[in-house]
Amino acid sequence: MNISWYIALSAVLFSIGAGGLVARRSPLVMLLCLELMLNGANLSLVAFARMHGDGGGQIFALVVMVVAACEVVVGLGLIVALYRNRLPIDIDELDHLKDPQKADSAL
C-alpha cells in the first residue's frame, strides 16, 4: 500500500474529528472527537515513520498518546467537577468567562 493512502486516511479522520468537535455540545463527546483528531495525527506520524524507515516517528506517536491520556484525565476530571457542582454538562451553557455575574451566581 502506498504511504499516501495512510496519509489521506489520517486527513479524513482528522477532519471528522474536527467537525465533530464543533458540532457536538456534550463535553464528553467533544473529548472523544479530540481523541479522533489525535489518532488521525498519530496515524500520519506512524505512516511517515514507515516512509523513512525511522523509529523517531513512532516515539512521537507514543508521546502523543501520553499527551492524549493526560488530556483525557484532566478533561474527565473537569467534567466530574462540573457534575459535582451541579453545572450543566453542556458546553454552550458554560460561558461564564463572558458573563462574570453568571459566574458569581453559578459558583
Binding site: 468537535l21 464543533v22 454552550d92 460561558d95 468567562l97 458573563d99
Partner: protein
C-alpha cells in the same frame, strides 16, 4: 572588603581634617560646634533632663561658646595685624568647579560678630532659665535656642558663599521654630510660616548671587571672592555687579526686615519674649548688616545698589518709626523700633560707614535685648497682656524693671553719653560726610531720631507712669495676676499646657537670673559707647580697619570736629523728642487721644503699618490662591481629566467592538481555530506551489 573600606576611611580623614587639633581654626570649630552639641544633648535627652538641668546645659553651652569666641579673639590678637584671618574646612559638595566647601573663615569682623552673638545669647539664655520656667516646652526651648546660636555662628563664620546660605537658611528655620514655639496658637504658627517664607526669598536671592559671583570669579570661597572683587583681570560687567549687589541686598533685607520684605518681623513677636530679644532684635535680624559689611566690595562697587540700599534703609527707618508712634502692643513697639534701628545700620553700611554700622549693631544688641527683657518682665506681671493702654504705674511695683527699661529706652532714644548716642550719631555723621544724595539720607536719619526719642519714652510713660493698672496694684500687694487667657489676635482660648503664660510665671523683680542678665546688659548699654568716642577712643574702628581697608571710601572719614557737631545736633534732637513725649504723656495726658480722633485716617494708616500686609495680601497671596483654585477647578477637571476620559472612552469603545467576538461559546472558539488553521494551511499550500 578591606580595599572597599579604604575610601570611607579616606573620607573620614578628609572630614576630620577640618577639625584636627593642630588645625589653625580649632577654636573656630569649637566655637561653632559647642552650641550644636548643646542642642543635640538637649534634643536626644529631652526625656532625661529635668528642667533645671536642661536650662543649665543650654546656658553652659553658650557660655562655653562665648569662651571659645574669646579664644578666637586671643588667637587673632596673637597674629600679625595684617594676617588676622583664619580659613579652614573640608569639601562638602564639590563638582564641576563649583567649590561648595564647608569652610569656616574668621577675621576681625567675624570675631566681633561672634562675640556679640554669643555674649548676648549667653545672657538671654540666663534670662530664659527663669523666664520660661512655667513653660511645658522648657527643654525644647533651650534646644531650639542652642540650635539658633549654632546657625547664627555658622552664618557668621561661613567662609563659602553657599555655606553662608546654609547658615542663612538655618537661622531662618530656627527663627521659624521659635516664632511658632507656642504652636497651639494659630497666630503664632501663621507668623512663623510667614517669616520662613519671606526668608526663603532671601535665600533664593543669595543662591542666585552666589551663582553670579561664581560665574564671574570662578570661586565661592569668600576671602578669595573679596580679594578678587577689584581684580582688573576678572572685572565683571557692570550689569552683573549691580545684579550681584541687589541680590545680596534682597537677602540682607529679607533677613533684616527692611522694606519691602519687612512685614514678617512685627508678626514674629508671637514668639516668647527671650526669642524676640535674641533673634528678632539683637542677632539674627542684624545679619543683613553683617552681610553687607562682609561683602562690602560688591555693594559699594555699584552706586545704584548702594543708593538703593541707603534709600530703602532710610525708608524703613522712617516707616517703622512712624508706625511705632501709634502701636499699642508693647512688643510691637519695640519690634518696629528694631526695624527702624536696623534701617540706620543698613543705610550707614550702604554709605560705607561700616565700622560705625557694626558699632551701632553692637550697642543696639545690648539695649534692644535689654528693652525686650524688661518688656517681658512687665508682660509677665500683666499675665500675658501686651496692650500698653491697659498698663500703667508699674514704676512703684517694679523698680528694678523700671530702671533698666528707662536705661534701654534712653539709650535707644540717643540720650547723650549713653551708648546709642555715640553709635547712632557716628553713622549719621559718616553719611553726611559722603555728601550728595546721602545728605538727604542723613536728614531722614535725623527725622527718625526725633521720632525714636518720642516713641521710646512714650512706652516708658505709658507703662510705668500714670495711674497704676490693677495688675500693678496686685503686684504691689505681693501677688501675681492670673487671667483667663485669650489670644488677642484670634480670640481663641490659650492652651496653657503648651506655652506661656502658665500657672506660675516669673517676673524680673523676683528672679536672680533675670536680674543678672538685665543688669549686665544695662551696664553694657551705658558704657559700650565709650569704646568709640570721636577723637578720644577708636577701639572698633582700629580693630575693623584691616577688614575695610580695601573699601574705596576707607579714607573718607569725617573730621573729629564735624563728628562732635553731629553729636551735639543729635543730643539736641534726642532731648527734644524726649521733651515732646513728656509733654504729650505726662503734662497733657490725653492730648494724643484727641489727635487720634481728629486724624482717624492717619492713625489707621500708621496703626496698620502703612497697609503693607493688606497690599501683599491683595497682590501676592490672593492671586496665587485664586490661581490654585483655578488649577483645581478648571485645569485638573477639564484638561487633565479630559485626557483621562478621552483615553478611557477610546479604549472602552474599541473594546466594546472587539468584545463581540468573545461569545463565551467554546465551540465557536474551536470553529475559529479550525478556520484559522485552514487558512494558514491554505496559505502554505499556495505558497508551496
Amino acid at each position: 572588603m578591606i580595599t572597599a573600606i579604604t575610601p570611607i576611611l579616606a573620607h573620614a580623614a578628609d572630614f576630620a581634617e577640618g577639625a584636627r587639633p593642630e588645625d589653625p581654626a580649632m577654636w573656630g570649630w569649637i566655637l561653632l560646634l559647642t552650641p550644636l552639641v548643646g542642642a543635640l544633648i538637649l534634643g536626644l535627652g529631652h526625656r532625661i533632663w529635668s528642667e533645671r538641668v536642661a536650662g543649665l546645659i543650654g546656658t553652659a553651652a553658650i557660655f562655653l561658646a562665648f569662651g571659645a569666641a574669646l579664644a578666637c579673639l586671643a588667637q587673632l590678637l596673637g597674629m600679625d595685624a595684617e594676617e588676622r584671618h583664619v580659613l579652614s574646612g573640608f569639601t562638602y559638595a564639590q563638582a564641576f568647579g563649583v567649590d561648595f566647601r564647608f569652610d569656616i573663615y574668621y577675621d576681625q569682623l567675624a570675631v566681633m560678630m561672634a562675640l556679640i552673638v554669643t555674649g548676648v545669647s549667653a545672657l538671654i539664655h540666663l534670662y530664659s532659665m527663669a523666664y520660661m520656667k512655667s513653660d511645658r516646652g522648657y527643654t525644647r526651648f533651650f534646644g531650639y535656642l542652642n540650635f539658633f546660636v549654632f546657625s547664627m555662628l555658622l552664618l557668621v563664620l561661613a567662609g563659602n558663599m553657599l555655606l553662608l546660605v546654609i547658615g542663612w537658611g538655618f537661622v531662618g528655620a530656627a527663627s521659624y521654630l521659635l516664632i511658632s514655639f507656642w504652636y497651639r496658637r494659630s497666630s503664632a504658627t501663621r507668623a512663623g510660616a510667614k517669616a520662613f517664607v519671606m526668608n526663603v526669598i532671601g535665600d533664593v536671592a543669595l543662591v542666585i548671587a552666589a551663582y553670579l559671583l561664581w560665574h564671574e570669579l570662578h570661586t565661592l570661597t569668600i576671602p578669595t571672592l573679596l580679594a578678587n572683587a577689584d581684580d582688573p583681570f576678572t572685572v565683571m560687567p557692570t550689569a552683573t555687579f549691580t545684579a550681584v549687589a541687589l541680590l545680596l541686598l534682597v537677602g540682607a533685607f529679607a533677613k533684616s526686615a527692611q522694606v519691602p520684605l519687612h512685614t514678617w518681623l512685627p508678626d514674629a513677636m508671637e514668639g516668647p519674649t527671650p526669642v524676640s530679644a535674641l533673634i528678632h532684635a539683637a542677632t539674627m535680624v542684624t545679619a543683613g548688616v553683617y552681610l553687607i559689611c562682609r561683602m562690602h566690595p560688591f555693594i559699594e562697587i555699584s552706586d545704584a545698589a548702594s543708593m538703593t540700599a541707603a534709600a530703602l534703609g532710610t525708608a524703613t527707618l522712617l516707616i517703622a518709626a512712624t508706625t511705632a508712634l501709634v502701636q499699642t502692643d508693647l512688643k510691637r513697639i519695640i519690634a518696629y523700633s528694631t526695624m527702624s534701628q536696623i534701617g540706620y545700620m543698613i543705610a550707614g553700611a550702604a554709605a560705607a560707614a561700616y565700622s560705625a554700622s557694626m558699632f551701632h549693631l553692637m550697642t543696639h544688641a545690648f539695649f534692644k535685648a535689654l528693652l525686650f527683657m524688661s518688656a517681658g518682665s512687665v508682660i509677665a506681671a500683666m499675665g500675658g497682656i501686651q496692650d500698653v493702654r491697659r498698663m500703667g504705674g508699674f514704676k512703684k511695683a517694679m523698680p528694678f524693671t523700671y530702671i533698666v527699661f528707662v536705661i534701654g529706652a534712653l539709650t535707644l532714644a540717643g540720650f547723650p553719653l549713653l551708648s546709642g548716642f555715640w553709635s547712632k550719631d557716628e553713622i549719621i555723621s559718616y553719611t553726611l560726610h559722603r555728601g550728595g544724595a546721602f545728605t538727604i539720607i542723613a536728614a531722614g536719619m535725623y527725622i527718625g531720631a526725633i521720632l525714636t526719642a518720642f516713641y521710646s519714652l512714650r512706652a516708658v510713660f505709658l507703662v510705668f507712669h500714670g495711674d497704676p493698672a490693677p495688675e500693678a496694684k496686685e503686684l504691689e500687694g505681693g501677688h501675681i495676676a492670673h487671667g483667663d487667657h485669650t489670644n488677642p489676635a484670634t480670640g481663641e482660648h490659650e492652651d496653657t499646657e503648651v506655652g506661656f503664660p502658665g500657672a506660675d510665671h516669673h517676673i524680673a523683680e523676683r528672679e536672680g537670673e533675670m536680674k543678672v542678665a538685665m543688669g549686665t546688659l544695662a551696664f553694657l548699654a551705658i558704657v559700650a559707647g565709650f569704646v568709640q568716642i570721636p577723637g578720644v577712643t577708636h577701639v572698633i574702628e582700629k580693630w575693623l580697619e584691616p577688614v575695610f581697608e580695601d573699601s574705596r571710601y576707607a579714607d573718607s572719614i569725617p573730621s573729629v570736629s564735624a563728628q562732635w557737631i553731629g553729636l551735639g545736633v543729635g543730643a539736641v534732637i534726642a532731648i527734644t523728642g524726649i521733651a515732646i513725649a513728656y509733654w504729650a504723656y505726662m503734662k497733657n495726658r490725653g492730648v494724643t487721644e484727641r489727635w487720634t480722633e481728629r486724624f482717624p485716617r492717619a492713625n489707621a494708616f500708621l496703626l496698620n503699618a502703612w497697609y503693607f500686609d493688606w497690599l501683599y495680601d491683595r497682590v501676592f497671596v490672593r492671586p496665587v490662591a485664586a490661581f490654585a483654585v483655578f488649577c483645581n477647578k478648571v485645569i485638573e477637571r477639564f484638561v487633565v481629566d479630559g485626557i483621562v476620559v478621552g483615553t478611557t472612552t477610546l479604549v472602552k469603545d474599541g473594546a466594546e467592538r472587539v468584545r463581540a467576538a468573545q461569545s463565551g461559546l467554546a465551540r465557536a472558539y474551536a470553529l475559529s481555530i479550525i478556520g484559522g488553521t485552514v487558512v494558514i494551511a491554505l496559505y502554505f499550500v499556495v505558497v508551496g506551489k
